[in-house]
């Protein structure tokens, strides 16, 4: 191989160097650069040359190169060749840095370039600075790569975790992109560690194209081949700082064989070697803000993004026991998959089933979008007019930082009487009524009485009721009082007799009066009347009655002496008249006298 190269060099030298003046120059794209900016240095020689030795680049970090370009051109039969070595440098400090001379051998003579002074000022681009640092931190694990080539690979192959935002609201979607930047040939690559993304709900974006899509990107003036290794949509699940762990990938890098001589033609003729190389991305911290409390609607359940909601009903005029489909469709961009089930307010009389959830969600580089449909199967069990209330749905729009409330329309359902016997299934009882023991097939017949007995149910407790209720006891009490009074009277037998005496006497007197013409009967009656009267009045047994006794008793009752004598005289007269004729006094006079006496006694006793 080396022989081949030598021959080629020799040929080139022979053909051109004889006539050409050899120039070996160093040039930079600018003399003053900021820190973090990339300086391109090119060493070029207009002749065939070898044994190029770059300067030390003290004060710089080599981020690219050497890019070797050979060109051979023939103009008017004159063949000219040139070789250029390009480096991309990033200053490591401010101030004046000198790029030292590079040396090369051409035509057996050494050539060297003149040193170039570069002024490094403080860079304006913080980002490029950051990127430079990031790149440097993407440094390889030195254990796994071959010595001598470390710097070259670490600058040419690195992984970066890129997020579209490092500050997000809870539930706001974040696009995470694991990108591979390379300037070397990769023979093989496989992930060793993929972060488990704790604290996020993540959805990997599946690429439709199985082949790796490469594109080029220029970072700090250096062209890289870039590919997305993995794209993920992240939804932070809690507030605070959440760290995305680094990803690690193992590569086998195919690179030019290192030639001890540094001869670029070694590579040119296919000398290469495979190097195992481990790449690790830097961790990234996402600051998750809580959702604002201000203006949070009651119905808010955690949707973040931008949504729209609509509800639909397949029919609103049904018979009882016919099924209805009620669909809620939420479409938009955001954490659709994380939406909590919506619980619409269905009429309680509707039998409802768990909704069928259909997701039509696409996850691509622009995020998660699509729609989610909740389809509810409802079965109205009874006739009537029912209303499905509007559904309120709220989401947080992180772009505006505000909550948005949406409301669907309400639906009116008219349920006609259904056919069949399904009406015995209700929302209230979870079992049908079939298990009730059927006692008979019909109700009992009417009562065929034709006489209406009106029963006043309000009789109980009425005034009449209480009146009648106390009637019995009152009657009994009355009877008691009456009985007591009667007993008291009956107990006074003497008084009774004496009270009755007048009456008895009157009776006798009355019968005596009737016999005024019959002297004997008249006196008989009068005598008996007076005697009986006195017997009753004075409480003397009839047999004990005599003149002395009468006089004594009457005297005891303090009657007038004259009245007593008159009484005794009258009695004597009556006794006498029974046996002998009476003169000097008529029967009428005797009668009046007796009556007078009785009246007098009655008045006095």
């Amino acid at each position: 191989m080396k022989i081949k190269l030598s021959i080629l060099t020799l040929l080139l030298c022979c053909s051109s160097l004889v006539f050409a003046q050899v120039k070996f120059t160093a040039s930079v794209n600018k003399n003053t650069i900021g820190t973090g900016e990339v300086l391109e240095v090119t060493f070029s020689i207009n002749a065939n040359a070898d044994r190029f030795a770059p300067p030390a680049f003290a004060g710089f970090q080599v981020v690219g190169g050497p890019n070797v370009s050979n060109s051979i051109s023939m103009v008017n039969g004159v063949t000219s060749a040139s070789i250029a070595y390009g480096y991309d440098l990033v200053p490591t400090r401010e101030g004046e840095i000198t790029i030292g001379p590079a040396t090369i051998m051409s035509g057996g003579r050494p050539y060297s370039t003149t040193p170039i002074k570069i002024k490094v000022v403080k860079g304006q681009g913080g980002q490029s600075n950051q990127q430079a640092q990031q790149q440097s931190s993407n440094g390889p694990d030195s254990r796994n790569i071959q010595k001598g080539r470390v710097t070259d690979i670490s600058k040419s192959l690195f992984l970066r975790t890129e997020v579209d935002k490092t500050t997000a609201y809870m539930g706001q979607q974040i696009m995470m992109n694991l990108r591979l930047y390379t300037r070397v040939n990769i023979a093989n690559g496989e992930p060793e560690k993929i972060p488990d993304l704790n604290g996020f709900y993540s959805r990997d974006i599946k690429s439709n194209n199985p082949n790796t899509q490469w594109r080029t990107e220029i970072i700090n003036g250096v062209r890289y081949n870039v590919t997305d290794v993995k794209q993920t949509i992240l939804f932070p699940e809690h507030e605070g700082n959440i760290t995305i762990e680094p990803s690690i990938m193992n590569f086998i890098v195919r690179q030019q064989a290192a030639s001890s001589s540094g001869d670029p033609f070694d590579a040119f003729f296919g000398g290469y070697e495979d190097v195992k190389y481990k790449v690790k991305s830097t961790p990234i911290v996402i600051h998750v803000k809580p959702l604002p409390q201000a203006g949070k609607p009651v119905e808010y359940t955690g949707a973040v993004g931008k949504f729209n909601i609509e509800a639909s009903l397949d029919k609103n005029d049904v018979k009882a026991n016919d099924a209805i489909n009620y669909t809620i469709k939420i479409s938009g961009t955001g954490n659709l998959k994380l939406l909590k089930p919506i619980s619409p307010n269905f009429p309680a009389d509707f039998e409802k089933y768990e909704p069928k959830i259909t997701d039509t969600i696409t996850e691509n580089a622009s995020g998660s979008s699509g729609n989610r449909k909740y389809t509810y199967l409802l079965i109205p069990r009874h006739q009537g007019d029912f209303t499905i209330d509007p559904i309120k749905f709220a989401y947080f729009n992180p772009a505006t930082g505000r909550y948005v409330s949406l409301t669907t329309q309400a639906f009116h359902i008219k349920v006609a009487k259904g056919t069949g016997d399904g009406s015995n299934v209700t929302a209230f009882s979870n079992a049908g009524k079939q298990d009730v023991k059927v006692l008979s097939n019909d109700i009992r017949y009417i009562k065929t009485g034709t006489e209406l007995n009106d029963v006043g149910s309000d009789f109980y407790g009425s005034g009449l009721y209480y009146f009648l209720l106390i009637l019995g006891p009152a009657g009994f009490l009355g009877a008691l009082v009456y009985g007591k009074w009667r007993d008291k009277n009956n107990a006074d037998v003497v008084g009774l007799k004496s009270r009755k005496a007048g009456k008895v006497a009157a009776k006798h007197l009355a019968s005596a009066k009737q016999q005024l013409n019959d002297k004997k009967a008249f006196y008989e009656n009068l005598f008996r009347g007076l005697y009986g009267y006195l017997s009753d009045k004075l409480n003397i047994p009839y047999s004990d009655l005599n003149r002395e006794k009468i006089a004594e008793e009457l005297k005891a009752r303090s009657l007038d002496e004259s009245l007593i004598n008159e009484m005794l005289d009258t009695l004597d007269l009556c006794e006498m008249a029974r046996y002998a004729p009476v003169s000097g006094i008529t029967e009428q006079q005797v009668f009046d006298k007796a009556q007078n006496m009785i009246n007098n006694i009655e008045n006095k006793i």
Partner: protein, 253 residues
């Protein structure tokens, strides 16, 4: 004395067994005939007229309930059955038909199981109608009092003995009857029922429209009214659930 008692009895019995007027009896006969012919709608009209005229009779309520039942108006049927039941709680036919019609209602409500003595006691106090019990009470008390009066005034020792003990027994029976009547009265007071007439009623947790819906009941269900409040009724189901419904959704028994 005997004459007086007879008069009293007449006074008592007169308003109770008030001679229903002939017109109502004619209507009743007509309604029965219509029912027998299967003209249930016409029978409803006829019976309803008797009721509207102010006649309260278990018989006509029961027949009206039957006519409504045959006309497939279960809630109305139950309403009148329950009215009949209230007037004549011990009537087997009425109770049977209530049970039967309840099978046609939507809600199956498991009543809390009653202690057997409670159950027996309820069936005992509901054996006779309140009016029957009232009349019985009055008659027994009066008879007892009369016997006591006899005891008081008789001269015969044997009659005195006999009348005293029988008076005691009769009066005790009278007080028992009065007690049972008061129990029955209280029972219907405490079980102040209503029948749901709306096809489906949301029972709410408070007497306002936007209160939470506790449960759902349907037409024909018997509820107990606990409270009335501004057109709302607090109700209790046999199962013990309580809540508020619109007063217009139910008809009181």
């Amino acid at each position: 004395m005997m004459k007086r008692i007879i008069y009293l009895l007449l006074i008592i019995v007169m308003p109770i067994c008030a001679l229903a007027n002939d017109e109502a009896n004619v209507l009743l006969k007509k309604g029965n005939d219509q029912y027998a012919k299967g003209q249930y709608k016409e029978a409803i009209t006829t019976y309803q007229k008797i009721v509207d005229d102010g006649h309260q009779s278990a018989l006509v309520y029961y027949n009206l309930g039957n006519a409504y039942f045959k006309n497939e108006d279960v809630p109305s049927a139950l309403l009148y059955y329950e009215k009949a039941h209230k007037l004549s709680p011990g009537d087997e036919d009425i109770n049977f038909n209530i049970q039967f019609a309840n099978q046609k209602t939507t809600d199956k409500i498991e009543a809390g199981t009653e202690f057997f003595i409670t159950k027996w006691w309820h069936s005992f106090i509901l054996r006779f109608s309140l009016t029957t019990l009232s009349v019985l009470t009055i008659l027994l008390i009066i008879a007892g009092s009369a016997l006591l009066i006899v005891y008081r005034f008789t001269n015969s020792v044997s009659i005195k003995k006999w009348s005293f003990y029988s008076a005691l027994v009769v009066l005790l029976l009278g007080f028992a009857s009065m007690f049972v009547a008061s129990r029955q009265d209280q029972y219907f007071d405490a079980h102040h029922g209503a029948i749901i007439f709306s096809t489906s009623v949301n029972v709410k947790s408070a007497p306002t429209l936007n209160a939470k819906n506790l449960f759902l009941i349907h037409d024909g269900t018997k509820v107990e009214i606990l409270e009335d409040n501004n057109g709302w009724m607090k109700i209790r189901l046999a199962s013990g659930n309580e809540g508020w419904i619109n007063a217009s959704d139910a008809k009181e028994i």
